[in-house]
């Protein structure tokens, strides 16, 4: 689980139906309401990506994981500080002598948010059914497991193979009494608006494209949260979201555009967090392992791939496109924990070296024989003209394309740019009809799922059944290492194996990793305290691996409910739940509202005012002139 592949899940077929149908959810029984009889204490979160579906067996977007992290507890939890395995629904566990079987003891008196008892039967049912039905977000953990409920609070889990991930059991446990009926049909089409869970907050309402609301779960085993509800508001535009944060309409914003993030760093009352690691961005080349499509033959030559890597100044991309926010790395990050990421020896690093790039191409016989500035395949013929797929859904798409195509042109490789949204791009990748694209992955705590994407098993061979291996690359050596680490119980040895795999993949240069992105977030300090970075010191505060912040937040000055109407608190919590107030969400806030809170840069404000005046003058003048010319014409007629 923790598949947080920022819109890159390729198994999303059938999600659309569920997402489209859903509009209003039933109110869950566990609604907490105001704890003190006053208006509910509301935390408002701004983000630029809606959930794809509340159905955990079908969704794959980062925002959906936040919903599930809050709604569904896991057998073992992850510590806020360092991801270490801590008790969740299970308060203790015991390993058998052979290390294949673990016996978990649940906390006493657990209930679902609808007051039904949560028992070992729910746990066993979730694990066994997810294995049998290959649920998207469960299967990578449960594929070799068998669970048996011994009694109401004891569950025994046996793995068919040595499993280094155990005893960590971080799959979302679902309420059997709700999910059993959907699981008898096609479970991925279930709307999942029931709002029954065992986490600190449960879904109350989802308005697709606008917001979703989660209310505190009064029966939460970790204790009633100090805030009553969380509103996740979806913005179409990062700058509008930041303006709302500055105005106090939002308490925290997720994925703040880099340019604005730099601005917010100097703003009082707002704390910025460049959460690491957010994920990585890569330039991927078509490895054509699936035999589908029409990739450029030159990309099968490792020297061409190395030349492309050497042609690109990744320092420039990191400094000027990512604005230095994140990490300049050479390899993929397979885990949120940097211990799994190897150092690439200096002599193997594919650093910016256009001379070396040209030498590699010249030596391979890729020469510009007809003098048009573009190299051709050895012996003339097909030019090195590569299709470049740009993502329209990323604000870094256009600048990255501009840099990369210019760098490639410098060494005699031409590009043809097409722009695709994520659905289109997923489709052309599945059909193998691409040469280059830039996209990214966000890793999990355990490196296994991300590493599995580059195995031969994940190469798409049927365009209607797209799998994860979007580089279309396959290696027996890599696959052997993958199987070995997957069953290696000695952690140090496993780390070594993973390092070998990542280094091997790096040297193939099918992916040129551009940089590791940071998860840029900003939160206000005037209303809530108790923000938790996961992992501590370096991680993000929201949209983390297990989202511990929400249950930990409390209003500043705590027990006084009047706090929510403090001066300057322009977003009265009551507003967000006012009946009929459905248009309050993102995208519609006027840009001008940023003015009061904008950093006071006198020069540029003066400039802006002058600019607006000039613009007004031109417009008004123009209108007057048009009217005059019209009347003049009328006179003549």
């Amino acid at each position: 689980m923790q598949h947080r592949s920022r819109g890159k899940g390729l198994w999303a077929i059938g999600v659309a139906g569920a997402a489209l149908v859903a509009s209003l959810a039933t109110a869950p029984a566990g609604t907490a309401g105001a704890q003190y009889g006053g208006p509910p204490i509301t935390l408002t979160v701004g983000l630029v990506q809606d959930i794809d579906t509340p159905n955990v067996t079908a969704g794959y977007l980062v925002s959906s994981y936040e919903l599930w992290n809050l709604q569904y507890a896991t057998l073992t939890d992850k510590a806020a500080d360092d991801f270490s395995t801590i008790p969740g629904l299970a308060e203790s566990w015991e390993a058998s002598d052979d290390g294949l079987t673990y016996t978990y003891t649940l906390r006493a008196g657990l209930t679902w948010s609808d007051n039904e008892p949560l028992t070992a039967d729910d746990v066993a049912w979730t694990i066994n059914t997810s294995r049998d039905q290959e649920w998207l977000n469960h299967y990578s953990v449960t594929q070799n497991l068998t669970a048996t409920a011994i009694d109401d609070v004891t569950v025994e889990i046996t793995s068919a193979v040595p499993d280094p991930k155990l005893p960590t059991m971080d799959v979302y446990i679902l309420p059997r009494h709700i999910w059993e009926a959907p699981s008898e049909g096609d479970i991925t089409t279930y709307e999942a608006l029931d709002g029954v869970g065992s986490g600190p907050f449960v879904l109350q309402e989802w308005k697709p494209g606008q917001e979703w609301v989660m209310t505190a779960n009064g029966t939460y085993w970790g204790g009633q949260p100090a805030i009553d509800q969380v509103v996740f508001r979806v913005y179409t535009e990062g700058s509008t979201m930041v303006a709302a944060l500055q105005d106090g309409e939002l308490d925290v914003a997720h994925l703040v555009p880099a340019e604005l993030f730099v601005q917010l760093q100097s703003e009082p009352g707002i704390v910025t967090v460049a959460g690491a690691p957010g994920g990585f961005s890569e330039l991927a080349m078509n490895g054509m392992a699936g035999g589908l499509g029409d990739g450029h033959p030159a990309l099968l030559d490792i020297n061409v791939r190395h030349a492309i890597a050497h042609a690109i100044d990744r320092d420039a991309l990191f400094d000027r496109v990512a604005l230095g926010i994140g990490q300049r790395e050479d390899t993929i990050g397979a885990s949120a924990d940097p211990v799994w990421t190897p150092e690439i020896p200096a002599d193997q690093q594919l650093n910016y070296d256009p001379v070396e790039a040209e030498r590699l191409l010249d030596a391979g016989g890729y020469l510009d024989t007809n003098g048009d500035g573009v190299r051709e395949m050895p012996g003339g013929g097909q030019p090195l003209r590569l299709r470049y797929a740009e993502r329209s859904e990323s604000s870094q798409g256009p600048p990255l394309r501009e840099f990369i195509t210019a760098f490639l042109a410098e060494v005699g490789i031409a590009t043809e740019v097409s722009v695709f949204d994520d659905t289109q791009l997923t489709d052309i990748i599945a059909r193998g009809e691409y040469d280059l694209f830039v996209w990214g992955w966000t890793p999990f705590v355990d490196p296994d799922p991300l590493l599995s994407y580059f195995t031969c098993d994940q190469v798409t061979t049927d365009p209607d059944n797209p799998l994860y291996n979007d580089a279309n690359w396959c290696s027996e050596e890599y696959d052997a290492l993958y199987t070995e680490q997957n069953q290696e119980l000695d952690r140090d040895r496993r780390i070594e194996l993973v390092h070998q795999m990542i280094t091997l993949f790096h040297n193939e240069a099918t992916y040129v990793v551009l940089y590791h992105d940071a998860d840029t977030q900003a939160y206000r300090t005037d209303r809530f305290e108790g923000w938790l970075q996961q992992p501590s010191g370096t991680g993000p505060v929201v949209f983390t691996n297990s989202s511990p912040t929400y249950a930990n937040l409390r209003p500043i000055g705590s027990e006084a409910p009047t706090d929510t109407t403090a001066p300057g608190d322009t977003a009265a919590p009551g507003d967000t739940t006012a009946p009929g107030d459905t248009t309050a969400s993102g995208g519609t806030a006027p840009v001008s509202t940023v003015a009061p809170a904008a950093p006071a840069d006198d020069d540029s404000s003066t400039g802006l005012i002058i600019g607006i005046l000039v613009g007004l003058l031109v417009v008004v003048g123009g209108v007057v002139l048009v009217l005059r010319s019209r009347s003049g014409r009328d006179d003549r007629e």
Partner: protein
Amino acid sequence: MSDLAQVSPRAFRWARRRASAAGFWRSLRRDKLALTSLVVLVLFVVLAVVAPWVSNRADFNVINTGDNPVWAKPSGQYLLGTDNYGRSVALQVLWGARVSLFVGVAATVLTIVLGTLVGISAGFFGGWIDAVLMRITDWFLVIPFLPFAIVLASVLGRSLWNIVFVIGITSWPSTARLVRSQVLSLRERLYVDRARALGGGRAHIIGRHILPNVTPLVLASTTLAVPISILTETTLAFLGLGDPTDVSWGGILDQARTAAAVTTNRWWYYLPPGVAIIMVVLAFTIFGRALEAILDPRLRDR
């Protein structure tokens, strides 16, 4: 003009054309506003044409601007400042004029050619041809323009010629209707009857009598269609549907938006392309209106 009688018919025709051109110029000169617009237009066209000679496209290629200051304010060195990648805004606006004007004019040509063809065919032939063509025209007229253009642009892919095509295919119906109504009245004129009685074929009548008489109308509607085309191109580019590898005014506005120039008060990034758009569109509109005013009376005189 006492020597008119001695010249050949061909020379006479030319003399008459010269005279009418002179008359046109006289009328235009009286309209100071139209003249100013013409000057503005000529200025923009000249700037667009000479851009490759006075500057280098590579000068604002991101890989060459690494040493430039980012977000520099307008100064002697950077006339309109720089953007977030150190690219000169002035250069972008200059090169953007090429795309915006080209698309505006090319799309208008397509609009006018399509519109005139359909309009003349429908008006002249009448009957079922008219019925079919007009139903097609109606169909295009009732489709909401912008959504249709957006859908077309995203289906066709993002290239310069596709934008031209999209604008052309979505804006010809009004021209067609205009031309058709004119042709309907023209084809009933006595001289058309006479030409027909003397054995003139359809091609002759359309070529020699109908087309020349709708030309002034078409010309005036051309100058009025250009600003609409430019604005449409700007809209599509702003929505991210323009050619990604070309710089156009709408594209600059889109970049300014994603670079948060508006929220961070970097007015020099979004104001210049905006002002350029307003000036060109306004100039075309004023000039088009003046043209219409000058040409319309002649139409009515007949």
